[in-house]
C-alpha cells in the first residue's frame, strides 16, 4: 500500500500528467470507454464492494451517474480503491477522472491540491464512537482517553482542535486504513473511534456486536463531502457538477427511476427542459439531450440513491437530516436546469 503514492508521485514528477494539462478529460474518457473513479477501500453505504465484487454506495452512484450520462451505461466505470492519504495524488497524476470518496470540502483542499470540489453529496460532521460499557454520555467526558483515527484526514486536525479547545488531554493513534483503525478500536487499544458520523454508523456494522457501541451526541465539525475533479478542465468540472445537480433536481421535480419514462412525456416546461424535449441543455454540457433520463434510469434521483445506500432502505438507516431537500427542511439545494 505504501508504494502506491510513490508510483503516483513519480508519474506526477515524470510529467505523465500532460493529459490533465491538455484539459480534455471528456474526450479521454470517451476514447477509453470508461470513467476512472477513485473510491474508498470499503466504507459501507458510500463505496464498498459486495460479495460479487460489484461496487455500491452513494459515492459509487455519483460515478455511475456520470458514466450513465456519457455512455448510457452505468457499468462503464473503473473503480480505483484509494486510502485517505493516496487519494489526492491519484487525482493529480491523472490516474482517476473523478474522486468520489467521502472527501471533506475545505478551503486548502480546494486551492492548493490542484483540484475542485463539484458539490456536496452528503452533509456530514465528525463524531465519536465509544463502547457502551464505558458509560460515557458526552464527548466532554473523554479527558485522558485514547482515540483511534485514520491518518490523512481532516479528522485528525478537528480532533486536536476539539480536545485543545476543551482543555482535555488525549492520546491519538493514527492508522493508514479504516479497517486497521476499527480493528485497533475493537481490540481495546483505544477508548474512542472518531470519524465522520456517517462513517461511524457504517463502521459500526463491521464490529462483532454493533449494539455494544454508541455514537456520542456531539458533532464537532462541519464535513461537507463531495466529489473532486482536476483543475484546468472546466468542461469536465461542469459535467460532474451538473450530474449531481440533476439528481437533486430530479428529486425536487418528483422524477423517480420508476416514473421517468412516463414523466418524459409530460408537457410541464421545467420537465421538458430537463428531459431535453425542449432546448439542447445536455449538449451544452458535452452530453446528449436525454442526459437526465439516462442518469435517473441508472441510479434514480438523489433521494432514491440516499435511501438505497445510507438511508431508511439500507442497513445503515441514517435519517435524511441536513441532506433533506431545501423545501423539506434540509439544505440540499441544486441550481435549476434551464
Amino acid at each position: 500500500m505504501k508504494r502506491v503514492p510513490l508510483v503516483f508521485t513519480l508519474a506526477l514528477a515524470a510529467g505523465l500528467s500532460t493529459q490533465a494539462a491538455t484539459a480534455q478529460t471528456l474526450k479521454t474518457v470517451k476514447d477509453r470507454g470508461m470513467v476512472s473513479c477513485g473510491v474508498s477501500q470499503g466504507l459501507p453505504g458510500f463505496s464498498s464492494p459486495d460479495d460479487k465484487g460489484n461496487w455500491t454506495g452513494l459515492d459509487v452512484d455519483i460515478c455511475r451517474a456520470v458514466a450513465a450520462a456519457i455512455f448510457n451505461d452505468p457499468t462503464k466505470v473503473k473503480f480505483v480503491p484509494l486510502s485517505a492519504k493516496d487519494r489526492f495524488t491519484a487525482l493529480q497524476s491523472g490516474e482517476i477522472d473523478v474522486l468520489s470518496r467521502n472527501t471533506t470540502w475545505t478551503l486548502s483542499r480546494d486551492t492548493s491540491l490542484g483540484a475542485n470540489f463539484t458539490g456536496v453529496t452528503y452533509y456530514d460532521g465528525q463524531g465519536f464512537l465509544v463502547k457502551k460499557s464505558l458509560k460515557v454520555n458526552s464527548a466532554l467526558e473523554l479527558n485522558s482517553a485514547s482515540v483511534c483515527v485514520q491518518t490523512g484526514t481532516t479528522t485528525e486536525q478537528n480532533l486536536a482542535d476539539y480536545f485543545k479547545g476543551n482543555n482535555m488531554k488525549y492520546e491519538v493513534i493514527a492508522f493508514a486504513s479504516a479497517d486497521e483503525t476499527v480493528k485497533a478500536y475493537e481490540s481495546g487499544r483505544c477508548d474512542v473511534y472518531t470519524t465522520d458520523v456517517s462513517g461511524l454508523y457504517a463502521e459500526r456494522l463491521k464490529l462483532a456486536n454493533p449494539a455494544d457501541h454508541a455514537v456520542l451526541p456531539e458533532v464537532i465539525s462541519k464535513e461537507p463531502l463531495g466529489p473532486m475533479v482536476r483543475h484546468g478542465d472546466d468542461q469536465w468540472f461542469d459535467l460532474v457538477k451538473w450530474v449531481l445537480f440533476a439528481m437533486v433536481d430530479a428529486e425536487e421535480l418528483g422524477v423517480t427511476q420508476k416514473n421517468v419514462d412516463e414523466m418524459a412525456k409530460s408537457d410541464k416546461p421545467e420537465l421538458k427542459r430537463a428531459f431535453g424535449t425542449d432546448g439542447n441543455l445536455g449538449e451544452q454540457l458535452g452530453l446528449t439531450k436525454d442526459w437526465v433520463i439516462r442518469i435517473v434510469k441508472a441510479v434514480g434521483n438523489y433521494g432514491e440513491a440516499f435511501d438505497r445506500n445510507v438511508g431508511a432502505g439500507s442497513k445503515l438507516g441514517i435519517a435524511r437530516g441536513l441532506n433533506q431537500l431545501w423545501n423539506k427542511g434540509g439544505i440540499q439545494y441544486a441550481p435549476p436546469i434551464r
Binding site: A14, A21, L142, S144, L159, D161, E171, E180
Partner: protein
C-alpha cells in the same frame, strides 16, 4: 608471491587517457561524456515538465509548507511537540521515532542473531534444533504479518487499563502499553553521575593495565570483578552520602488512563519486537556462515593450546568470522531500518507515517515530501554503511589483512 618486472612510469597523456577512458581510451571517454549528457538532459526534462504541469494545474509547490502549523497530535515524541508546532517539527518527531526503533531493533536483532547463529552450531542436539526451527519459522513468514501478529494477537489481548497487570504496584501492563515510574532528578543526581563517570574511567584504566600485563609478562588479570564492584559500589556510596539521585513519579489510574509515570506504547513494542525477531533470523544465518568459513583447524589449534571452547570462539574464531559477517550484516541493518516504515500499519508514528503520511495528505505536496523522505532514508542508510565500513576497516587492520 611472484616478482614481476617493474613497468616503466606512464606518460602523463597516457595516464590521463587511462584514468578517463579506461581500456577503451579516448573513445570510451567520449561515450561517457555523451552518456552523462543524456542523463542530465533526461533529468532536466523531468524537472521542467513536472514544474510546468504543477503550474498549469495550480498545485502548490515549494518548501514553504514546512513552516506552517501542523495542527495534529502524535502519540509518541522524543522531543516536546504540540499540535501548534510546525511541519518541520513533525518531521523531526517522525525521524527520531524511526531512529529509535532502528537503533533498538538493531541492538536486539544482533544479540538474538548471534545467540541463535551460535546455537545452530552448538554440539547440543536440542539447542541446535531449536535454533534451526526458529530461523526457518521466522524468516519464512512475511514481516507485515509478524508485526500485526505481535500487535493484535499478543499485545492486543492484554487487559484494559482498569484491570491492568500490576507489578509491585508501580509497573502496570495493559493494552495501552507498559507504564513505569518516571525518574525525576533530585539533589544527589550530580554526585551520582560523577561517581559513575569516575568508575568508568578507573575501569578503563584497569583494563588497559591488565592488557599491558598480559602482553608484556603474560600475566592474566581478571578485571571484571573489580569493574563490577566499582560500577555498582561508587554510585551506591555517592547516593548514600549525598542523598538519592532521583525520585520517582508514580503512575496513577485516572479516568481512562494512567496519569504520571512514563509509558512505552504497544505500537513501539510490537514494531521493535517484530523487526528484531525477523531480522535476527537472517543475522543468525549470516553468523553461522561466517563461523563456518573459518577453517576447522583454527578451532583445533585453540583447543590444543588449552583454551576453552568459549574462549576459542571469542578470541580466535569470531574475529576472523567478522570479516565475512560484516558486509551482509550491514545489509540486514539497512533492511531493518527501511522495514521500520511498515509502522504505518499499526499506527506507530514513524517518519513515513507522520511525514510521508499525514503531512503529505494535509498539504498535498507529494513531490517535495516524498523527495525529502527518500533523501532521509538514503542518508540514514549511507551513514549506517559508513559506520559498518569503518568497523570493517578496523577489524581488517587488527587482523593484519
Amino acid at each position: 608471491m611472484s616478482i614481476e618486472p617493474r613497468a616503466p612510469p606512464l606518460q602523463l597523456a597516457v595516464k590521463l587517457r587511462r584514468a578517463l577512458g579506461g581500456h577503451a581510451g579516448w573513445g570510451g571517454f567520449a561515450l561517457q561524456i555523451i552518456f552523462v549528457a543524456v542523463l542530465v538532459w533526461i533529468g532536466y526534462e523531468i524537472v521542467a515538465n513536472a514544474r510546468t504541469n504543477l503550474e498549469t494545474q495550480r498545485i502548490t509547490s515549494g518548501f514553504g509548507f514546512l513552516s506552517n502549523t501542523a495542527g495534529f497530535d502524535v502519540s509518541q515524541s522524543l522531543i516536546s511537540y504540540t499540535q501548534s508546532d510546525t511541519y518541520t517539527r513533525v518531521f523531526f518527531v517522525g525521524l527520531l521515532n524511526t531512529l529509535l526503533v532502528a537503533i533498538i531493533g538493531i541492538f536486539f536483532a544482533t544479540l538474538i542473531g548471534f545467540i541463535v547463529g551460535l546455537g545452530r552450531l552448538s554440539p547440543n542436539w536440542l539447542v541446535a534444533r531449536i535454533s534451526g526451527g526458529y530461523v526457518e519459522l521466522v524468516r519464512n513468514l512475511p514481516l507485515l504479518f509478524q508485526i500485526l501478529f505481535w500487535y493484535l494477537a499478543v499485545l492486543g489481548v492484554l487487559p484494559n487499563p482498569r484491570q491492568s497487570i500490576s507489578l509491585f504496584g508501580s509497573f502496570f501492563l495493559s493494552n495501552r502499553g507498559l507504564v513505569i515510574p518516571k525518574p525525576i532528578g533530585a539533589a544527589g543526581l550530580e554526585s551520582f553521575a560523577l561517581a559513575i563517570l569516575i568508575a568508568i574511567v578507573v575501569t578503563w584504566g584497569l583494563r588497559y593495565y591488565a592488557r599491558r600485563q598480559l602482553f608484556e609478562s603474560g600475566r592474566l588479570i581478571r578485571v571484571w570483578p573489580y569493574a563490577l564492584g566499582l560500577l555498582i559500589g561508587l554510585p551506591l556510596l555517592a547516593s548514600l552520602a549525598f542523598g538519592a539521585p532521583v525520585t520517582f513519579e508514580m503512575p496513577e489510574l485516572k479516568g481512562f488512563n494512567f496519569s504520571g509515570g512514563s509509558r512505552v506504547i504497544p505500537e513501539f513494542v510490537a514494531l521493535t519486537l517484530a523487526l528484531s525477531i525477523y531480522t535476527a533470523a537472517f543475522i543468525a544465518e549470516i553468523v553461522r556462515a561466517g563461523i563456518l568459513s573459518v577453517h576447522k583447524g583454527q578451532l583445533e589449534a585453540g583447543s590444543s593450546l588449552g583454551l576453552s571452547r568459549g574462549t576459542t570462539l571469542r578470541l580466535i574464531v569470531v574475529p576472523q568470522a567478522l570479516r565475512v559477517i560484516l558486509p551482509p550484516l550491514t545489509n540486514q541493518y539497512l533492511n531493518l531500518t527501511k522495514n521500520s516504515s511498515l509502522a504505518v500499519a499499526i499506527g506507530y508514528p514513524d517518519l513515513f507515517s507522520v511525514f510521508a503520511g499525514t503531512t503529505l495528505s494535509q498539504t498535498g505536496q507529494a513531490i517535495e515530501i516524498i523527495a525529502i523522505t527518500m533523501g532521509v532514508y538514503l542518508l540514514i542508510s549511507l551513514v549506517t554503511s559508513a559506520i559498518m565500513s569503518f568497523y570493517g576497516w578496523r577489524i581488517g587492520r587488527s587482523l593484519g589483512a
